[in-house]
């Protein structure tokens, strides 16, 4: 029975990882930018949910919706006025720029929020949901369902909406998209805005599940990177699959090899994928 519990833990964790990674994957594939500020944007989302809950009693589920407009605006403006200036520069320049932005974001948050760890405490606690002998914390389950919904919403947006198809078109071939009348700089900014929204929304849910502080941004970023490589870059279903593979691997790795080796096992898997299947499980560059 312990295996079923461990599997359930892995699935729940995997869905949360998927949400962390989906925005990161979108930005990487469309803009060809490894967005190192992604982890700090997740933490910023967590602080938003925490602040709204502690000051106005807003439940984190509503914070998720409240986060969408400001995070989109933040991402859009950040790309349009800062990142856009280095879009045609070599990858090292964009990497350095987002690293600088990460340092600024992290230190600004340290200044305002200090390095103390916080957690959004739901009062009363939601307790746990029991399926036979399998116990799943209700807040994790809620966050998992919302994470899945957010990821599916992104998938639908990219497949069904006009702006989504334009994003995919730019990702496949930005020159061709430009010739077809797509405003490429605008699409870059919109895609970055959506990636930022995904990060902010992930943060609002993470606030309920994990203790956070400005210094955990790199942990979130590391998970996003592994999930992208495992699942396949630029693929929303890939983010879900990658998240689940990582979550389940960590859970069973912890069971069979001990908790200290769970992360090592996950990164070993990453190396195997980079060698054997660098495009990831579902990665097909340019397709949804």
């Amino acid at each position: 029975m312990i295996y079923v519990q461990v599997l359930a833990n892995g699935i729940v964790l995997g869905c949360l990882y998927a949400l962390i990674a989906s925005g990161f994957s979108l930005v990487w594939s469309v803009l060809n930018i490894i967005n190192l500020v992604h982890g700090s944007l997740i933490v910023l989302g967590a602080y938003l949910a925490w602040g709204l809950h502690n000051s106005f009693g807003v439940e984190p589920w509503w914070s998720l919706l409240i986060a969408i407009p400001p995070f989109f605006l933040l991402g859009y403006l950040l790309q349009r006025f800062v990142i856009n200036r280095v879009m045609s520069a070599p990858v090292l320049v964009t990497l350095t720029l987002t690293f600088g932005l990460e340092l600024i974001a992290s230190n600004v948050m340290l200044y305002f929020f200090t390095a103390d760890y916080r957690r959004l405490l739901l009062q009363p606690s939601l307790g746990s949901v029991e399926f036979g002998s399998v116990i799943i914390p209700a807040d994790r389950l809620g966050a998992t369902v919302l994470a899945l919904l957010m990821t599916i919403a992104l998938y639908v947006l990219l497949r069904q909406s006009r702006i989504g198809r334009a994003i995919v078109a730019v990702r496949v071939d930005s020159e061709a998209a430009k010739l077809m009348g797509v405003n490429v700089p605008n699409i870059y900014a919109v895609a970055f805005g959506i990636g930022t929204v995904m990060a902010g929304c992930a943060g609002t849910l993470m606030a309920v599940v994990f203790p956070f502080s400005p210094v955990v941004s790199t942990t979130f970023l590391g998970k996003a990177f592994v999930v992208c490589v495992l699942g396949g870059l630029g693929s929303v279903p890939g983010a879900i699959v990658g998240g689940l593979v990582l979550g389940i691997t960590e859970s069973f790795g912890s069971l069979f090899f001990g908790a200290e080796y769970a992360v090592t096992l996950a990164f070993s898997l990453l190396i195997v994928f980079l060698v054997v299947r660098p495009q990831g499980i579902l990665g097909r560059w340019g397709f949804e």
Binding site: I2, V12, R119, S128, A259, V263
Partner: protein, 407 residues
């Protein structure tokens, strides 16, 4: 004559201002020499930055208080205190570089060791190499001090001074508690603490039936806790830093993992543990640390007593200090006592003064064993009861009796 003087006014003025400038320069130079510079390598960025923020507050309140009182008395004069910080980005190899930079480039007079036992041990070779008197604020593992390094001192008593009282309290309360689960962060101090607890528990007949480590930055402990639950221990002992403690405690509640005794090192010693873990999560969790604001020591230092320190800290920072703040203030206080005793800033004299020191500080009485580790006070053991931290040991400052979870 007057005409003559008039003609010389410009010349005299220039001479006067040159002389004045020279006097000011000389005075400034003299002032610059009238200070004692302490080096503090700190993990200002990176994973340990929360600890560094506390450390810096601890150092600063000591330096400001001393300087406000005219500085440290060295023989028949007073010298102001200045602290030089270098960030080592939470990386132990960089901690050694930072310490060396402070010694060789910043030319500090004395050194505070970096954070924790691991970084202190790594950088301690510099103390011997440069004959730099070093005082460690947060290194408790005896392995740090067992290499005969006569320039290294530490104000934390050995880890066993925390685990033995805990085991005694628990076994005295209920002799039927026979099994223990240990979960430790894979890091120098938490592992040393886990090893020490295993020894202390085994000595009292408690069998360790679950012994696991988790990697630094682990985000999820559910699989490990599932295994721990299956083992059904009487006592759960978790050792790591506050973020680990909060996350593990929450996941324990989520998965209904419980035991008559739950001990966490060292999260519960921080006031924010109760806020972050919640009332339900924090209740009945026991812990131990080297200092607590409820202690009641009278001291000969600049703060006058533990309460004096707590009040000064609250006034400056608006929060109650925890043991992380206090130990960094205490190393300053101890250095001051040693320098004043030596009447000099000569490293050898200060070293000798430290070796024979018997100081009454707000942190407790401080004197050192032959290895350089403090051995002069009993660290408090506490339990969170009814939403607040209460001391359950030692008896002189005890505020409450120990409770089992099932009570």
């Amino acid at each position: 004559m007057q005409e003559h003087l008039k003609n010389r006014i410009p010349q005299l003025s220039v001479t006067f201002f040159v002389a004045l400038a020279a006097m000011l320069w000389t005075s400034a130079t003299t002032l610059a020499q009238d200070k004692i510079v302490f080096g503090a390598p700190l993990p200002i960025t990176g994973g340990l930055s929360p600890e560094a923020a506390k450390a810096q507050q601890g150092y600063e309140i000591w330096a400001e208080t001393v300087n406000a009182k005219g500085g440290i008395k060295v023989g028949d004069k007073r010298m102001m205190v200045e602290i030089e910080y270098v960030d080592y980005q939470s990386s132990t190899p960089k901690a050694v570089q930072a310490a060396e930079q402070l010694i060789t480039q910043k030319k500090v007079n004395f050194l505070f060791a970096p954070f924790g036992s691991g970084a202190t041990k790594a950088s301690s070779t510099l103390a011997a190499k440069y004959k730099m008197v070093t005082l460690a604020p947060t290194a408790s593992s005896p392995q740090v001090y067992d290499k005969g390094n006569k320039y290294l001192f530490g104000i934390y008593t050995p880890n066993e001074t925390l685990t033995i009282p805990l085991v005694n309290i628990v076994t005295k309360k209920d002799a039927n508690l026979k099994t223990m689960a240990i979960l430790a962060r894979n890091d120098f101090f938490p592992l040393a603490m886990a090893k020490q607890m295993k020894q202390s528990a085994s000595a009292k007949g408690i069998k360790v039936i679950f012994d696991e480590k988790f990697a630094i930055n682990t985000l999820d402990h559910s699989a490990t806790l599932t295994q721990m639950k299956a083992a059904d221990p009487d006592w759960i002992f978790v050792t790591g830093y506050i973020n680990d403690n909060v996350l593990i405690r929450k996941q324990m509640l989520d998965q209904k993992v419980t035991a008559p005794v739950v001990t966490m090192m060292t999260g519960p010693s921080y006031p924010e543990f109760i806020t972050a873990a919640g009332r339900e999560g924090a209740e009945n969790v026991t812990g131990a640390a080297w200092w607590h604001p409820a202690l009641q020591y009278k001291s000969d230092d600049v703060f006058g007593s533990t309460q004096g320190y707590v009040e000064a800290f609250k006034k400056k920072y608006g929060v109650v200090p925890d043991y992380g703040h206090a130990s960094h203030t205490a190393v300053g206080v101890v250095f001051q006592a040693a320098i004043e005793k030596a009447g000099s800033i000569d490293p050898e004299k200060v070293r000798d003064a430290l070796a024979t020191l018997n100081a009454k500080t707000f942190h407790g009485p401080i004197s050192f064993s032959e290895t350089g580790q403090a051995n002069s006070y009993e660290p408090p053991v506490f339990q969170i009861q009814d939403g607040e931290t209460r001391i359950i040991f030692p008896d002189v400052v005890k505020q409450s009796e120990f409770r089992l979870n099932k009570e």
